[in-house]
C-alpha cells in the first residue's frame, strides 16, 4: 500500500517537474539546454512510476489499512520525539546559538528516549556527553578550522 502511494508521489513529481521545465530557456549553442537533461530524467521517472503503480494495482494486495493514529504514535513514539526535537534544534539554532541548542537537543533527546529510571550516574553521563559535543565541537572547529557556528542572540 505504501509502495503504491510512493509510486503516485513519484508520478506527480515527474509531472510537476516536466511542467516546470517548459519555463526554462532554449539555447542555440547548447542543444540540450538547461531543460534537456531534467526532462529525460522525469520522463524516465514517470514511466517507472506508472509501471510501479500498475504492478501494485494488479497485485491487488491492499490490506485493510486502518489509520489508527493512536497505535501509529505509540509504536513510533521515539522516532516522532527525535524528529520533533531535531527539527526544533535546527530551527532554533540561529536564535539561541549552536552551543545552547546542541546541548539541549542532545541532553533532552537522551532523556526522553532513554530508560524511565535514571540513576545519578546516567544523568552525569548524559550531561557530560551533551556538554562535550556542544562545547567541544564549537571551540575545536572555531579554533582550528575557523568555522563559525551561529553564536545566537545572547552572544552576538
Amino acid at each position: 500500500m505504501g509502495e503504491l502511494i510512493a509510486g503516485i508521489i513519484f508520478l506527480l513529481l515527474s509531472i510537476v517537474i516536466f511542467i516546470q521545465t517548459s519555463q526554462l530557456p532554449e539555447s542555440q549553442y547548447d542543444p540540450l539546454g538547461p531543460a534537456g537533461f531534467p526532462r529525460l530524467i522525469v520522463i524516465f521517472m514517470g514511466i517507472l512510476a506508472a509501471a510501479l503503480i500498475i504492478k501494485k494495482v494488479r497485485a491487488k494486495d491492499f490490506e485493510k489499512v486502518e489509520f489508527n493514529f493512536k497505535k501509529l504514535f505509540k509504536d513510533y513514539k521515539l522516532i516522532f520525539i527525535s524528529l520533533f526535537n531535531f527539527l526544533l534544534y535546527i530551527l532554533l539554532m540561529r536564535f539561541i546559538g549552536f552551543r545552547i541548542s546542541t546541548f539541549l537537543f542532545v541532553f533532552l533527546t537522551q532523556y526522553m528516549i532513554g530508560p524511565e529510571e535514571k540513576s545519578g550516574k546516567t544523568y552525569f553521563i548524559m550531561t557530560s556527553i551533551a556538554l562535550f559535543i556542544s562545547l567541544g565541537a564549537y571551540y575545536f572547529f572555531q579554533s582550528y578550522l575557523s568555522v563559525i557556528f551561529p553564536p545566537g542572540i545572547f552572544f552576538e
Binding site: 517537474i17 521517472m45 510501479l52 524511565e116
Partner: protein, 500 residues
C-alpha cells in the same frame, strides 16, 4: 626506476618525516570516520601545516592523510551503518549486517586488510604502469565520460535490492535532486520554487548524510523497547582476530585483485573517484560470485570488494598526477598545489626533473599503507567500544554530529534544512523498501553525466560519436552487459528462492 625508489627510501627514512606521516595517517583515519568531514577537507586542512615542511615531508604527510582517510570511512560504515566518507557507501552493505550479526571485530578486520592489500596492489600498478595508464586516461573526452557514467549508472540496476523498478526510481530521484539549483552551463536556476537557498543547489554530502545517516539512526529507534531498556548497539562478546581475518581476505584473490584493479583504473581517470569505485567493485564482485544472493547479508566478499576498491583509487589517482602533472581528483589537486608552493613544477617532466619527489611519493604511499594498517589494528579495539554505547545515547549524539558535519561543508545554515528534508525522504524510502544507494549514485553521477552530455552535443551535434568513438562504445557496451547480467542474475535468484 630503481634509482627513484632508492632516492625515495633515502628521503623517507627520516624520523621527522615518518613522525609527521604517522600523524597525518592518524588524522586521516579520524577524519574519514566522521560522516561529513571528507578526505578532501582533511587534505586541505593539512596544506597550511606543510608550509613549514620540506616538499618531501609535506607530500608524505598528505599521502598519509589520503590513505588514512580512505580506510577511516570503514569504521563508522561497519559499526553504525553510516558511511564516514562517500567511498564507504558500499562497505555499509555487508559490514553493518556483519556487525549486527555480532561480529564487529571480524567486519573491521576484513575491511582493514582489504584496504591494505588494495592499497598495495594499486601501488604496484602506479609504479609499473603510470605513463601507459596516463596516456589512456588522456584519450577521454566528453563522449567517453558520459558513456562511463552511463555504465556506472547501470550498476543501479544490480544494487536495487528486491525490485529493479524501485531501485531505478530511487536513482532517478537522485539524478533529479542534483539538477536543483544553478545550472553552471546556462546560468539559469532550476526547480527552486522560489526558495532562495535552493539556488545554491543541493550539496551531495548533505544528501548522503541525510539519506543514509539520519534514516539509519531513526531506524535504530524503531525497536522501542530495546532503546528504552538502555540496550547497546551490538550485544554479546566481541572477538578481534587479526590473523584469521587476514587469511580470510587472502582466500579471495580474484575478488581482491579485481576490486583493486577497478579502483586503480577509476582513480586514474580524472574526475571519477573512490565514491564510484567502491560501488562498482562491489557490483562486479556480486556479479562474479557463485552466491550473489548472500550479498547484503553480511558476507566477507562484499566488504573485501568495497574496501579494496576504494583504497586502490589512491594509487590510481596518483597516476595522472605523476605522469602528466594533472590532478585526478581534489586530493591530488591539493598535492599539486603544495608542490607548486614549494617551487616545484609538476608536469610530465616531474619524473625526470625531480626523481626524489616521485620516489618519495612511491615509497611514502607504501609506508602510509603500513601506518594505516598499524593504527587501524591498534585503534580497532578502541573503535569497537562504540558498539557498546547504548542506543539512546548514540542516536542523539550522532544526529548532532551529522548537523555539525553538514554545517562544516559550506558554513551555510540552509544546508541543515536540506539535511532534515533528506533525512525524512531517506527514512520513508527505507520504510517502503527502496534501496538508498541508487539515490547517492544519482546525485554524484548526475551532474557529471549532464555536463559531459551537453558538452559533447555542443562540440558536435553528431550523436553517433557516442557509438563510433571506441572507448565510448566500450563503456556503453559494458553498460548494456551490466544491465542484462543484473536482470538475469536477479531472475535466477528469484527462481532459486522459489525452488527452495
Amino acid at each position: 626506476m630503481i634509482e627513484m625508489l632508492v632516492l625515495g627510501f633515502e628521503e623517507i627514512l627520516s624520523f621527522h618525516l615518518l613522525f609527521n606521516m604517522f600523524l597525518g595517517t592518524l588524522a586521516g583515519i579520524i577524519a574519514g570516520a566522521i560522516p561529513g568531514f571528507t578526505i578532501t577537507m582533511a587534505i586541505i586542512l593539512t596544506l597550511p601545516f606543510t608550509f613549514g615542511m620540506s616538499p618531501n615531508v609535506g607530500l608524505a604527510t598528505m599521502l598519509g592523510v589520503f590513505v588514512g582517510g580512505l580506510s577511516g570511512g570503514l569504521i563508522t560504515a561497519a559499526l553504525i551503518g553510516i558511511p564516514g566518507t562517500p567511498s564507504a557507501v558500499a562497505t555499509t552493505f555487508d559490514a553493518f549486517p556483519m556487525v549486527q550479526k555480532g561480529q564487529p571485530g571480524r567486519a573491521l578486520g576484513i575491511g582493514i586488510w582489504a584496504s591494505f592489500f588494495g592499497s598495495l596492489i594499486s601501488m604496484i600498478l602506479l609504479i609499473t604502469l603510470a605513463p601507459q595508464v596516463a596516456n589512456l586516461a588522456m584519450k577521454i573526452g566528453p563522449w567517453e565520460y558520459f558513456s562511463l557514467i552511463v555504465f556506472a549508472l547501470t550498476i543501479i540496476a544490480s544494487i536495487t535490492g528486491d525490485s529493479v523498478i524501485k531501485g531505478l526510481l530511487a536513482g532517478s530521484l537522485g539524478l533529479l535532486v542534483a539538477t536543483v539549483g544553478l545550472d553552471p552551463m546556462s546560468g539559469f536556476t532550476r526547480f527552486t520554487f522560489n526558495i532562495r537557498f535552493l539556488e545554491a543547489g543541493v550539496p551531495f554530502l548533505t544528501v548522503l548524510i541525510g539519506v543514509f545517516a539520519v534514516s539509519r539512526l531513526l531506524t535504530e529507534l524503531e525497536a522501542k523497547d530495546e532503546v528504552k531498556s538502555g540496550e547497546e548497539l551490538v550485544t554479546g562478546k566481541i572477538k578481534f582476530e587479526p590473523f584469521k581475518t587476514m587469511k580470510e581476505v587472502l582466500s579471495q584473490p580474484v575478488n581482491l585483485i579485481r576490486s583493486s584493479l577497478i579502483g586503480s583504473l577509476i582513480g586514474a581517470i580524472p574526475g571519477a573517484g573512490a565514491s564510484i569505485s567502491n560501488i562498482l567493485a562491489y557490483d562486479q564482485a556480486k556479479k562474479g560470485s557463485k552466491h550473489p544472493e548472500l550479498f547484503g547479508t553480511g558476507i566477507a566478499d562484499g566488504i573485501i570488494a568495497s574496501e579494496a576498491g576504494n583504497n586502490s583509487t589512491a594509487g590510481g589517482g596518483l597516476i595522472p598526477m605523476i605522469a602528466l602533472g594533472i590532478p585526478g581528483s581534489a586530493v591530488s589537486a591539493v598535492m599539486l598545489a603544495a608542490l607548486q608552493l614549494h617551487g616545484i613544477n609538476p608536469g610530465p617532466m616531474l619524473i625526470r626533473n625531480n626523481p626524489d619527489i616521485v620516489g618519495t611519493i612511491f615509497v611514502g604511499f607504501f609506508v602510509a599503507t603500513f601506518f594505516m594498517l598499524v593504527i587501524q589494528f591498534f585503534g580497532a579495539r578502541l573503535f569497537l567500544k562504540i558498539t557498546k554505547i547504548p542506543k539512546y545515547i548514540l542516536v542523539p549524539t550522532v544526529m548532532a554530529l551529522c548537523v555539525i558535519g553538514s554545517y562544516l561543508l559550506n558554513n551555510r545554515y540552509s544546508d541543515l534544512y536540506i539535511l532534515f528534508a533528506m533525512g525524512l525522504v531517506g527514512y520513508f524510502l527505507k520504510k517502503y523498501n527502496f534501496a538508498l544507494a541508487p539515490v547517492i549514485l544519482g546525485v554524484i553521477l548526475g551532474p557529471i553525466a549532464e555536463t559531459n552530455l551537453r558538452r559533447a552535443m555542443m562540440t558536435s551535434s553528431d550523436w553517433t560519436l557516442f557509438f563510433t568513438r571506441p572507448i565510448s562504445l566500450g563503456f556503453l557496451v559494458l553498460g548494456v552487459i551490466s544491465i542484462g547480467y543484473a536482470y538475469w542474475q536477479n531472475n535466477k535468484m528469484k527462481k532459486n528462492k522459489a525452488e527452495s
